[in-house]
Structures are given as structure tokens and as C-alpha cells.
Symmetry: C2
Subunit: 566 residues, 2 copies
């Protein structure tokens, strides 16, 4: 008889451990125990059922127990909760949730892949029947049936992380014409992005009719509305709670397994827990962050896959390299693609890493090509080493490609010099001869090398309000079509003859559409002896994107005469 | 007075040197001399004028001399041919092609960026008025006017490289309904791809109505047809010669500058020629290949950009890193995207590098998502080091992203282990939890580590013809819908009960749809004691793609009962 491998949890991590173990050992006895009715479903596609993009929710289930048995000789027991681990005798206690019956199984190796569960805040009305969380196919089915019943017109989604945003988007894309409100307690959605980049996401949500409420939390859930902390009331006949997830550590804790500092199950290099006969993988564990050198939690499918494989490999003495995680993720929100990798400003600060960043908005492909659009790209690098530590990209074009390239750079300990020289594929339909990532490296090296100084878009409002000397170097027609309230227009093409209009004794701030021309103007002026001169990083496109959302939801005065987003 | 920088050639390389030099030095006198009527046009977009995608050919010109003067204070003299360099006195002789007048200009620094010119074979009829080459806006305009005049129905394009393929594609996409024949002397188009991958490109061309003639050259051009070496005649009222380009080295040679072993202008680390006051960049020079450690020529815009910047930087004592080139390129052909980087089998063999490769066909994104499609991915690695040396990807999905990631790996000297652990962005709309590049690394490591053996799709015909023992492990319905002529169907789900049907004493070859299930089957069988067992790399999808084109153009017997490409 072969080795007995029992696995708690039959979705991403668990199923991957099982499949890999089978390939390494035809004779092991492998049993997965899954609390829910399905193993191996596509978590990440769950929200797409709400829009009808994936019409039949059964399609979300990728493999059933019969298929596991036939194809891989793996036993998958659904509706089976593992309620206790007897580590000394190497047995688990399982409860059949259909019959209530309890029984024991012995193991040689046990793998915990219980995942993480949605956090439900302890507020009034949270257990009303029209309040939903989303974790599996049953949940999404239940939510979808409820909202499609004809009783629901207004839906509130609480939480602006991946799940909340994807649920809100898919609800809005549904033919049912729901009014969708997304409520987020922080001042931005999608925490992998910094506040500046998040403004582009806010605009996209708003442009597609999602009512976005930031900086406010839910206080009470009522029959037909929710009440926010601010006192504001939001109509809602259905409420989706998506404020976050909590690692499922109960079984591990009760069994005396060590829990890490972040609240996830503690594992070593090989995903072994504090009991060497027990492995743990997936959303329930804590992992090592390659850049911060500290423990973190990460609910992402890619790392879970690798953990699962590494754990199975380790059972069979196949070593692996544990590179640590960097946190690469992406999301499609209506018409834009958004991706990020590594650290953002918040996480870099928190880790005490000295950094600087640049923000550029090059074209995604050659300007002449149909479908060309601006790509917003933010790159973070360590100071003074120039080591690349993070990036965020948003646009209608291939944001994910650029972030994947930078993620690769980060994994390979690349610097700005490496990124500058990177030889990537170019054809007009896909990129520009100087790819946006090369471009980003060049700008970042200019900053790192002190070639010139910059100010971020987040400082422009203050500059305008204190009436700083801002020069818009776009051509006249561009200026006329929309500009910063008190910027002076000296087109690059007139710069050399009108240079006397620019003072040398006070700070001067330059911008154009996307910082390309203002960079050229700035270099010329510096050569002419101007010393107190700054490029506005992101330029007019960046300023408009940064200002737009808050301009719409507050009654503050606009600093631009007309927006330009192209 | 500032430094005098003269530049021969005002397109990609030349214009980039000029713009960069201006940013580094406001007071330099910078003059570009361009033989043609335009500076700074988009070479790479020229073919798109033929389809009407870029309707107005004037849009191909990105900047005119007036703009260069006004915005950058750079003088651009068009219709100006530099005919001589007097190196001792540091002057050039310029011929004004409009007036015929000749004059001299002195330089402190001279930059050669003359590009490369289309090769025209010395055959009968090649100077007839309906024979065209394509190098600039004038050429493409002339061709387009000619074919749109109503006299042309059939067009022959000679040469299956980037330009030939893009011209053929755009001619076919034009509303005019041309019959387009593409003639290529080699047995495949698009030399960056290996013969196996090129079959997918051949299929795409054929599927879109391009008449593809391989392994045949043009012998004569006649008034209304061309005659091929084989004697075959092809109707053509217009002929486009795109068999390749030759670096423009005449001026350099006549000036006594050293020419390299590959026929390009010899340059050093800093793009200085054998005369230290003369730099050279772009398609006319020879460059160092990072992987083969030898000189090569590369007509690509990305490297030209970097060379231009490095040359200008060097004039101002800013050092740069010369990483060597790897040759990353991509192309859109009708509905598919194709990209390659580094070495392919041909170039690896030529360089004497010991290598192996894998060929996988994963989904571009999660199977449930609309628009999901197979991605053909070939990865080459050095043996025994596992260093990644090249890759090719083709599909309707994001082939370019995957090749850009692998190009980054190659630039960073990455190995299969690095690629395996790469943490990339994942969401169902963009990828799979195990990205195709991670997947490729896992398969390649299995081959490198001797976990199992594989045979390539190119060997399958031979296996079928000698009646080898081939097991198709797809499910019965899949087998019924199309299979290898003499393959036996033992579905993975029946494998363990029907294992006795598989002989242990002869080689056994396994395949499924994309090698995922056959890999699982193979591992199970190996554990059961089967030793002489092979996975067919690429499996049924790969076999169908490999066989399709030649099945159509020859009368050989098919080895598949029905093709499957999805």
C-alpha cells in the first residue's frame, strides 16, 4: 500500500497538491476533503457569472469527483468538513455534512489548504437574507438568483478590493440595469494601486455608472437600504459584503500548529507547518516577501499554485527554490486594464524602504495605429541603488504586459539600467520602438542621476492655488482646448524666442500633454542657466486624471478649464 | 559657437541622435542630411497604408523640417545627399538633389545613420515600371497609387520576411480585392521562427487567401506575370520586391572606414567607427549578439533607438552599458500575433550552442473566458545549463507579452528555474494561474532533468508511416472527432483499467489535445514500469498545425482524419 496523503480543501491549492502528488507517485492514496459541494472550481471567475459573461454557473466547476477519480485516481469527498486533527496518532476527524456522521482517517502526510473566508463586520442587519458574501459557486448562484428575481433594483457592494470591484463591474454589465453603489472605507479602491493611480480607476467606475462612495463605511443594513457611518443612506435591496478575507486557521490553531505574526499559518521554506507531517498552502498561510523581507499574506492564485507544487515535490524529496513573493496582480475594470507588481508607495514606506518614483503616460502603441491609447505607468525604485521595487500600469492597452516585464525584472533583481537596455518586441500594433518600460527607466534614471527635478501630479493643485509660475509648453490650440487655470502658454516651438518671459529667480514648473515636450523644454532652459525648474510628472493628462473624480464628487473649484484624457 | 554635429540620415536613428544631442547641449549646431524628401517618418507603419488602415500617407511623416527647427532647433535638410567625407579636414560634401548643387560642411562630430536599402536581384524585367521596392513614404505612395489605378488585379510579393509578409497582408486586407501571391525561396516565411512554428503562419496566410509559394524563387518579371525558377508562372500586374535589405555602407567604405565581417559598418562599444570623430548607428552597422557572442546585423527599430541615444550620450561623456542584442521581434498577421526572441533552432545550431526545446499549447487565458484561444509557445534552453536562449509564441492571444517576459529573462541571464518561479499578473481575462511561460519552464525542466522523454511534432509523420504504437489519451468523443490515422484511443479516464493493452517491449508514444493529459498518463505508466515511453510534444493541436499547410499544397496522404485547431 502506498503513502496516504490527505488534503483539507479541494479548490486551487488542494487540487494542485493532489494532482502533482499523483504524478510523482502512482501508488499513493490521495483523498481531498472539501466542506463545500464542489472541488476545483474557478474562484477567480465567480464574479463573471453576475454579468452573464459566464452564463451557466455549472461551468465554473472545472472537475467533479468522478473525473478526479477516473483521470487521476484521486478521491474527492465533498460536503466533508475536517473538524479535528489528532497529530500524535496522525488521524483526522471528518464530518459528513449531509448525514452528520463523523469518522476518522489516518494519514502519512496531511496538507492544509483551507483558504480564507469573507470577513463580515459585526453590524446591525448583517444577517438579513439580502446580505451576501462570495466565496464559492453556491454563493454566487444564490446571489445571482436573488438579484434576478425581479425584486432588486439597487445593489450595494461593500469593499473596493478585487472582489468588490469585480462584483460591482459585473453587476453593472448585467442586462438587468441595476443601480450599483460601491462603498469603500478608505479614500481609494484597489489597494495595490497608489492614490494617484487609483483616481484613474475611480474615473472608470464613475464613467460606467457605478456610484462610488469613498471614505465611508457601512454602519447598518436595513431591509431596503444601508446606513453609512456618515449617516448617509443608500438604497439597496441586496448587499454584497466584500471588505476582505480572513485566513481559515481554526483547524490549524486547534491542532496546536504555529500561527505566524500576520495571522496566517506558519510554514517554512518547504511549506511544512510546525508539524513536519503537515503541509499548508494557499490563502491560509503567511509567506515571505522578497522585497520587504518580512512576512505577509497574499490571496493570489499564482503563488498558491507554486506553493502546492513545492509542497508535493517536497514530500518526494524534490527540492525547490523559494523566491519569496512580490505580489503581482491585475484586473479588468470595464474598458481598462490595470496591473501592479512589487511595492507601491504605501508598502514601500511601511517597509522603511527609501524610494522615488516616476509617472509617465506614453502611448500603448504607435500613435498612428487604430486603438492607440495612453498608458499610465508608475515605476518605483530604491534610492540610491536604482533597484526596481514596484510598478503600476493602467490603460486601455496592454498594461499587463508592461507589469509582467517589470515583475520579471524585480524577480531577477533588475535595476533601472537593466530596464533601460531591455530589448523587447516591437511592431506598431503592439508597442513603440522605445517601449513604455524602457521609457520609464530613462525618466527614472534622469531623476536618480539628478539630471532634473520633478513634482508629482498630487502637488499641482497646491501650486495652482498658491499661484506658482507654471508654463504649459503645448502648442496654442492644445492650450486653448483646456489648460491649468493660471498656467502660461509658451509652446516649445516658441520657447527659444520667448525665454525672457520666464523668471530665473522663482521656481518654474513645466508641463505639456505627457511630459515629453516639457522635458525637452526643461533641458533647454537648464542649459540656458535656469536652475529652479521642475517638470510636472504626468503633465496635463496626469493632472486631469488625478483631479477628475474628486472634482465630480466635491464642490471644490476645478484647477483645469477642460479635461483632456487622450 | 557650439559643437557642430552633422548627421547623415534623418529617419529613426538619425533623428534620435539629433533629439538626444539637443537635450544634452542647447548650443550645439545640429544638422541632419536626408536623401529623401522626408525626415522622421514611420518606416514600420508603411505597409499599413496599403490596407487603408493608415489612409493618408502624409500621416506617416511624423515631423517636418519646420517642426524640427522650431521645437528642437535642429536643422533638417531633405533631398540632400552626403556624397563624400573628407575625414582629415572634417568636412562632408553634400549634393542638393533638387538643384544638383554641391557644397561642403565642416563637422566636429559626424554621425552615419544611412539605413539599409532593399535588395533587387539582377533578373530580367526587374526594372519594369510595375516592379516596386518599399523603403519610404514616396515608395509606398507610388505603389499604392499604381495598384489603385484600376489596372491591377494580381500582385506578387517576392520575399517572406517582415516587409513581404506585412505588405502581402495589407494588400489582402485592402478593399480592392487583390489576388496576392507571396513567393519565398526558402521552405518557410519569417525566418525568426523555426519551421515547425512557421507552419502556423503559413496556415494563417492561406486561410486569409494569400497564395503562398515556398521553396521557389523569381526568375523573370514580365509585363503581366512573373516566372519562377521552377518554371511556374504567376499572374501579376504589380510586383513588390522584398527579398531583404543591404546595409548602406558605400559612403563609409569610400571614406576608408572599417567595415565589419558581416558587411555592416564596424563600430565599437560606443558606436564610434574606426574614425573616432564619426559615429554610426542603425541598420547600416553590425552589432554584437549577446547569445552567440558574434557579430550580426539587425534591422530593428528598438536597438536603433538605443544605439542613437548611446552615441549622443558618448559625445557628452555619458557612459552606457552595451548589453549586446538578442533580436526580439513581433508581427501581426491577420488574426494572429507572433513574436520571437533570442535564438531559434537554426541560429542556435549555427552558433554551435547545445540546446533542447519544448513546444506547448496552453490557453492564452482561462478557458471559461470569452476569446480564450490556444497559444503556441516554443522555448529553447541551453543544455546542460538550463539557461534560456530563445522563444517563439504564436496565437490570437497575447503572444507578445509572453515573449517580452522571456526576452527580459534572457537579458537578465535567467534559467528555467527562474522562469518556473516567476510571479506574473493573473486574472482570468489575461492569463492562467500558471502562466504559459511558467508552464513552459516546468515542461522544459522535466526534459532537462530527464523526468521523461519527448518527440517533436516534426517526427510524427514518420511514426505514423512506420506504424509506431501511438496512444491517444483523449476522451472517446474527442478521438472520434479527429485523430491520428493509426493511433489507439485509451482515454486517460480508462488508462488504469486498460493498461494491459499497452506493450512494454516497444516504444510507446502518447498524446492528447495539448499534452497535459498525456503527461499525466505518461507519469502513471512510468511508475508502472513502462520505460520506453514518449510524450508527443505539442500533441494533437500541434500535429494538426504542423501538417495542415503541406497537406493543402501537396498531394501527400494526410496522417490525421480531421484537423483540430482549438
Amino acid at each position: 500500500m502506498g503513502r496516504r496523503i490527505l488534503i483539507v480543501g479541494g479548490v486551487a491549492g488542494g487540487a494542485s497538491v493532489a494532482a502533482r502528488a499523483r504524478r510523482l507517485d502512482e501508488f499513493a492514496e490521495i483523498i481531498m476533503f472539501e466542506k463545500g459541494p464542489h472541488v476545483s472550481f474557478s474562484n477567480c471567475c465567480l464574479p463573471n457569472h453576475l454579468s452573464g459573461m459566464i452564463e451557466n454557473s455549472e461551468k465554473l466547476v472545472l472537475m467533479n469527483p468522478t473525473q478526479f477519480k477516473k483521470q487521476y485516481n484521486i478521491e474527492a469527498r465533498v460536503n466533508s468538513e475536517v473538524i479535528k486533527i489528532h497529530r500524535e496518532e496522525k488521524t483526522i476527524e471528518v464530518k459528513d455534512l449531509k448525514t452528520g456522521e463523523k469518522y476518522k482517517e489516518t494519514y502519512d502526510v496531511l496538507v492544509l489548504s483551507p483558504g480564507a473566508s469573507p470577513i463580515v463586520p459585526p453590524i446591525e442587519g448583517v444577517d438579513l437574507p439580502h446580505v451576501f458574501t462570495i466565496r464559492n459557486v453556491v454563493d454566487i448562484d444564490r446571489l445571482n438568483r436573488y438579484i434576478q428575481s425581479g425584486k432588486v433594483k439597487d445593489i450595494a457592494v461593500i469593499g473596493g478590493g478585487f472582489i468588490g470591484v469585480e462584483v460591482a463591474e459585473n453587476l453593472k454589465l448585467s442586462d438587468a440595469g441595476f443601480n450599483v453603489t460601491l462603498v469603500e472605507a478608505l479614500d481609494q479602491i484597489m489597494s495595490p494601486f497608489d492614490y494617484d493611480m487609483a483616481q484613474i480607476l475611480h474615473k472608470e467606475m464613475m464613467d460606467h455608472g457605478v456610484d462610488l462612495i469613498l471614505g465611508d463605511g457601512v454602519a447598518k443594513v436595513k431591509e431596503d437600504h444601508i446606513e453609512l457611518v456618515s449617516g448617509k443612506k443608500v438604497q439597496a435591496q441586496a448587499v454584497v459584503m466584500a471588505i476582505g478575507v480572513r485566513p481559515e486557521t481554526k483547524l490549524a490553531e486547534e491542532s496546536g500548529l504555529a500561527i505566524g505574526e500576520t495571522g496566517g499559518i506558519l510554514v517554512d521554506h518547504n511549506y511544512q507547518t510546525s508539524d513536519r507531517n503537515i503541509y499548508a498552502v494557499g490563502d491560509a498561510i503567511e509567506v515571505y516577501h522578497k522585497l520587504t523581507h518580512s512576512k505577509t499574506r497574499l490571496a493570489l492564485a499564482g503563488p498558491a499554485q507554486r506553493q502546492a507544487r513545492a509542497a508535493a515535490d517536497h514530500m518526494y524529496r524534490i527540492p525547490h527554490r523559494n523566491t519569496g513573493v512580490i505580489g503581482s496582480s491585475c484586473v479588468k475594470i470595464f474598458d481598462i486594464n490595470a496591473a501592479s507588481t512589487g511595492l507601491n508607495e504605501k508598502t514601500a514606506k511601511k517597509a522603511g524602504i527609501q524610494y522615488d518614483f516616476i509617472y509617465i503616460i506614453p502611448g500603448d502603441k504607435v500613435g498612428l495605429m487604430p486603438g492607440n491609447s495612453p498608458l499610465h505607468l508608475k515605476l518605483l525604485f530604491e534610492v540610491p541603488t536604482g533597484k526596481i521595487i514596484g510598478a503600476q500600469a493602467i490603460g486601455k492597452g496592454d498594461a499587463v504586459k508592461r507589469i509582467d516585464v517589470i515583475a520579471t525584472m524585480i524577480m531577477m533583481d533588475g535595476t533601472l539600467e537593466d530596464l533601460k537596455e531591455l530589448e523587447l518586441c516591437y511592431a506598431p500594433a503592439f508597442s513603440t520602438a522605445k517601449d513604455p518600460v524602457n521609457h520609464a527607466a530613462l525618466v527614472a534614471l534622469n531623476i536618480l542621476n539628478g539630471v532634473y527635478k520633478q513634482v508629482p501630479v498630487s502637488k499641482v493643485r497646491e501650486l495652482v492655488e498658491k499661484n506658482a509660475f507654471i508654463v504649459d509648453v503645448r502648442e496654442r490650440a492644445e492650450y486653448e482646448a483646456g489648460h491649468l487655470r493660471n498656467a502660461i502658454n509658451i509652446p516649445l516651438s516658441e520657447l527659444r524666442e520667448r525665454v525672457d518671459e520666464i523668471p530665473k529667480d522663482i521656481p518654474v514648473y513645466l508641463h505639456c500633454r505627457s511630459s515629453q515636450r516639457s522635458y525637452n523644454a526643461l533641458m533647454a532652459l537648464q542649459h540656458m542657466g535656469f536652475e529652479n525648474i521642475y517638470n510636472i510628472s504626468g503633465s496635463y493628462l496626469g493632472i486631469c486624471c488625478y483631479e477628475y473624480f474628486n472634482d465630480q464628487v466635491t464642490d471644490r473649484e476645478k484647477i483645469v478649464t477642460e479635461y483632456n484624457f487622450n
